[in-house]
């Protein structure tokens, strides 16, 4: 073995060791600062993790674009939904008077709110865009209460990391990290374009997460759970979306 090749070998070995140590440090830092999504495993895990980590570093507090009233889409597109369940139809027949939003998990005061109670909370509006992963989009004015307001009423405990939210329809649930949940544009939405939120667009109550793709804005919300461990829900991937092959983090 010549001197040159020995030197190359030693340098190469050191570079590999430094690279491995660097990756390990990066992984620890990423975990500490909440840059690893629940669906970080598998062959697409690195891509999902880069998407999430990049946006959490560069856009943690950024506000979704808001538009002037003149840009509201004349016909807000109601995407296809499964036929409503009997539970939904019963509540609909009663004018949603008995609709309840329950909150439990890592909160000091588990609660259940009616739609009237939610409407009595500070009312906020935003003119933002729904962007579907398929490619289409529309702009609407969304009215509701900030999710952070409701979470603060219930008293979120410091170690909370995710808010999991459930539709009344079976197998339809999702979750967001606590930053997204406390974000001022994340709404529990009950109104659209100065009217009640139509059923086709998620009425009577829709989670609105305008910084992420449309599928994170789950329709017909009845239940919130605050947690520090997402592994306990479904297959532990953070929501129903990754179980169907879709990314948990949809801010892309």
């Amino acid at each position: 073995m010549t001197d040159t090749s020995r030197r190359k070998l030693i340098l190469g070995g050191l570079a590999v060791a430094a690279g491995a140590a660097g990756l390990d440090v990066a992984a620890r830092l990423a975990e500490k600062y909440g840059l690893i999504p629940p669906d970080h495993g598998g062959i697409y895990g690195p891509g999902e993790t880069l998407n999430y980590a990049f946006q959490r570093v560069f856009a943690r507090h950024a506000l979704a674009r808001e538009f002037p009233p003149s840009m509201i889409s004349p016909r807000p597109f109601p995407n296809e939904i499964a036929p409503p369940s009997d539970a939904f139809k019963r509540l609909q027949a009663g004018g949603f008077a008995d609709w309840r939003l329950t909150i439990d998990g890592l909160v000091d005061r588990p609660a259940a709110f009616s739609l009237d109670q939610l409407r009595s909370f500070p009312r906020n509006s935003q003119i933002t865009e729904v962007s579907c992963e398929e490619g289409w989009s529309y702009v609407a004015q969304w009215t509701g209460v900030r999710l952070s307001h409701v979470l603060n009423l219930a008293g979120v405990r410091p170690r909370a990391r995710y808010v999991v939210y459930f539709s009344i329809e079976p197998d339809w649930w999702d979750s967001i990290d606590i930053d997204e949940a406390m974000h001022p544009q994340t709404f529990l939405t009950y109104g659209m374009n100065d009217n009640d939120l139509p059923v086709g667009n998620g009425g009577p109550l829709r989670m609105r997460v305008p910084r992420q793709l449309g599928y994170k804005s789950v329709k017909f919300i009845t239940h919130l759970t605050v947690t520090d461990d997402i592994k306990g829900f479904g297959k532990g991937l953070g929501s129903a979306a990754p179980e169907g092959g879709y990314a948990w983090y949809a801010g892309v």
Binding site: I43, Y44, P46, G47, E48, L50, N51, Q55, F58, A59, A62, L63, A64, R65, F67, M71, S73, R75, F77, N79, E80, E129, S131, C132, E133, E134, G135, W136, S137, Y138, V139, P210, R211, Q212, L213, G244, G245, Y246, A247, A250, G251, V252
Partner: protein, 264 residues
């Protein structure tokens, strides 16, 4: 040879003797190692991005200008193919299976690889002189005579002269520069301008283009341009000697025409 004393032989004597016995070309690298490695990473990623891009397109094969567009608005362009979504008015009586989940995941993952590889390539291109020496047209290239000669040779599908195995002609240089400095940045930019969180942090990325749907439409048109480039690229390689040029991009070596190494 007899006069050369062994003690006086220079250190590199062995190499210089064997260099004389084989064509000099074997010792000059046609493409730098970094260019060859990044070329094949790009090729692999382009294939992944194209296939997954088509899958994603199938879920909404309609294009619009401006900020918004959906099944209730008039498209600028509707690709006449069936869709993987029920509500898209395609005119076909059936719906294709939904492949968006893995397609989107692979699309973004391949895009990350392309961006990192692209940065590496750009740093190399600027600092090692690759862009200046190999891609920037030379002064004489830009004359009308040189242009018309190059265009004429291409139109007649003439096999390129031997010296072109060692450099790029003016049309090649301009095509590569267009892809590297126009299409590549454009397709990354328009991709990012569709992201709801990226545009939250950098709203001008979408506003400067004229809106999210405009970004999506340009992303599509740029991908068409890249496919056209790929078709011409492969056609030209076939014309110049497919295996010879492909081998040069893998090993870096050029074998002269007519040598036993020319054919696979």
């Amino acid at each position: 040879m007899a006069t050369l004393q062994p003690a006086q032989a220079p250190l590199g004597a062995d190499a210089s003797i064997s260099a004389a016995s084989v064509p000099r070309a074997d010792f000059r690298s046609r493409h730098a190692a970094l260019v060859r490695i990044t070329h094949w990473i790009f090729a692999l990623c382009f294939f992944a991005l194209l296939v997954t891009g088509i899958e994603i397109l199938i879920s909404h094969p309609r294009f619009y200008w401006g900020e918004t567009g959906n099944d209730l608005t008039k498209p600028w362009l509707q690709i006449p193919i069936p869709s993987s979504r029920n509500l898209v008015p395609t005119g076909y009586g059936y719906v294709l299976p939904d492949e968006n989940g893995w397609s989107r995941a692979l699309h973004f993952e391949a895009a990350w690889v392309v961006v990192f590889t692209g940065l590496l390539y750009a740093i190399f291109g600027f600092f090692a002189g690759h862009f200046r020496k190999n891609l920037l047209p030379t002064g004489s290239d830009l004359s009308w005579r040189s242009f018309s000669a190059a265009i004429g040779n291409h139109l007649r599908f003439r096999r390129p002269p031997q010296h072109e195995a060692w450099s790029y002609n003016v049309l090649q240089r301009l095509a590569y520069l267009f892809v590297i400095f126009i299409l590549f940045p454009l397709i990354v930019w328009t991709g990012l301008a569709m992201s709801p969180t990226f545009t939250a942090a950098f709203p001008s990325s979408a506003i400067l283009l004229g809106g999210k749907q405009t970004a999506r439409t340009i992303h599509f048109l740029a991908s068409i341009a890249l496919v056209l480039f790929l078709v011409v690229h492969i056609l030209m390689i076939a014309l110049a000697g497919f295996w010879r040029r492909t081998r040069a991009m893998i090993t870096g070596r050029v074998h002269p025409a007519g040598s036993p190494m020319e054919r696979p």
